[in-house]
């Protein structure tokens, strides 16, 4: 999975939060923290994070991984990791709240919900709200995880949107396929 690189760039843009996920991968740039957990837990009923504790992981602390995490089958460091050091800890299920970041336009804070080692949601908990800027900045097109986008890929669709040059033949064909499928 290359999604880790994607989320890395996503959060770097906000300079808010980075969190490793997928089995055996955790890559946090120095100085960025994950605070766990919040009151909400994933509805999948996965393991519940320890209530009331705060974890701070940094990229240099791979030695703190638990034995089970070290035995993870995909614990090998990813050569593509930009942090230069991979923590082998698998992300624990739960909802995590990123630190509140102050920007010239106001405060920004996002969370992340992990279930089964995957990020399932990255809710924006707080977007800027200073005066008249709120609507503008809060409609900012932020980087989004490819995995989040792909989750809807299998949805049954009524129609398809693509650039015109996407090829009329393609669209016509897809459309007729949809017709046959009875959408």
């Amino acid at each position: 999975m290359r999604t880790r690189a994607v989320i890395g760039s996503a959060f770097a843009a906000f300079a808010i939060l980075a969190v490793g996920w997928e089995v055996g991968t955790s890559s946090l740039p120095p100085g960025q923290t994950v605070t766990a957990p919040t009151s909400s837990a994933p509805d999948s009923g996965g393991s519940t994070p320890n209530s009331g504790t705060t974890q701070s992981r940094s990229a240099g602390q791979s030695g703190s991984a638990s034995p089970s995490e070290q035995n993870s089958p995909s614990a090998a460091p990813d050569p593509g990791s930009s942090s230069g050091s991979s923590n082998s800890a698998g992300a624990a299920d739960g909802s995590y709240t990123g630190s509140l970041e102050r920007t010239p336009w106001g405060d920004v804070q996002v969370g992340v919900t992990i279930s089964g080692g995957h990020i399932v949601e990255v809710p924006a908990l707080h977007l800027t709200d200073r005066g008249g800027q709120s609507v503008q900045i809060s409609n900012y097109a932020a980087p989004i995880l490819r995995s989040e986008v792909l989750r809807a890929q299998s949805a049954q669709v009524s129609m398809v949107s693509g650039a015109t040059f996407t090829s009329e033949a393609y669209l016509a064909s897809l459309q007729s396929a949809l017709d046959q499928a009875g959408f």
Binding site: A141, M159, T166
Partner: protein
């Protein structure tokens, strides 16, 4: 659902309706779209715009419809700080960035006037629907592999149109700004309350890049999904919610 499709303006039209639609109404919709093609296509040697480009017809003698479209395109150019343009690099007036959307708006008016309910109209990848059809799930093509969908969206009820523009292949589709050699975006999808806004801004963001993306998302009530070269995807909060809704319904 009933679906009808046909070709016009060099592309495919698809009309999806909950109830069977009368042939007479379909004929009227076809006619509304064909009229625009006849007037504005630069691919047709006999279109009004082709005659203006060739110097056979002076702009001041052009039809009110053409002048309206030209004025609208110029206004969008101003609003988008020049990212949207009404001219080809050679100076010829090219309204292809706006006339398809205007044609779709006309077609929608035909459907409304005929009392049609729960319909969705697609023309070459741009979509427009009636307010009671907002619960449809719409697929968005993956610009890197057009055989599949990148994602799907279920938009907010305030959205009545969705348009996608791209920067690959047919380079003439969008004229990039002079200082932007290559668009940073391979594909931009915009959802809005009307098709002209959606289509123009999708085109403008591809042409104008990051700066226009920020401008458009800040100043218009729109949702945007922008795919950058290299695969990074950006989405406004509303678009992100629309994707989550589609995923939940999948």
């Amino acid at each position: 659902m009933t679906r009808v499709h046909w070709e016009t303006m060099g592309t495919v039209v698809s009309l999806l309706t909950a109830a069977r639609i009368e042939d007479a109404v379909i004929a009227e919709v076809r006619s509304a779209l064909a009229k625009v093609d006849a007037r504005f296509s630069l691919y047709r040697p006999d279109s009004e715009l082709t005659r203006i480009a060739a110097g056979e017809l002076r702009l001041e003698h052009a039809s009110p419809e053409l002048l309206d479209a030209y004025a609208a395109a110029l206004e969008w150019r101003t609003l988008t700080d020049g990212a949207f343009t009404a001219h080809r690099p050679d100076g010829v007036i090219d309204l292809s960035g706006i006339v398809k959307a205007m044609a779709m708006r006309d077609a929608a008016e035909v459907l409304r006037a005929a009392g049609e309910e729960n319909w969705m109209l697609g023309v070459g990848g741009d979509l427009l629907w009636s307010p009671d059809a907002s619960d449809h799930t719409i697929g968005i093509v993956d610009p890197d592999d057009r055989r599949r969908l990148l994602t799907a969206v279920r938009l907010d009820a305030s959205r009545l149109a969705l348009a996608t523009s791209g920067s690959a292949e047919r380079g003439e589709h969008i004229w990039n700004l002079p200082d932007l050699a290559v668009s940073p975006f391979t594909q931009v999808t915009v959802a809005a309350g009307d098709i002209v806004t959606a289509d123009v801004l999708a085109t403008a963001i591809v042409a104008g890049g990051e700066q226009t993306l920020d401008l458009a998302s800040a100043h218009w009530n729109i949702d945007v999904l922008a795919v950058a070269r290299g695969g990074t995807i950006r989405a406004t909060p509303g678009m992100r919610e629309a994707i989550a809704r589609a995923a939940a319904a999948a």
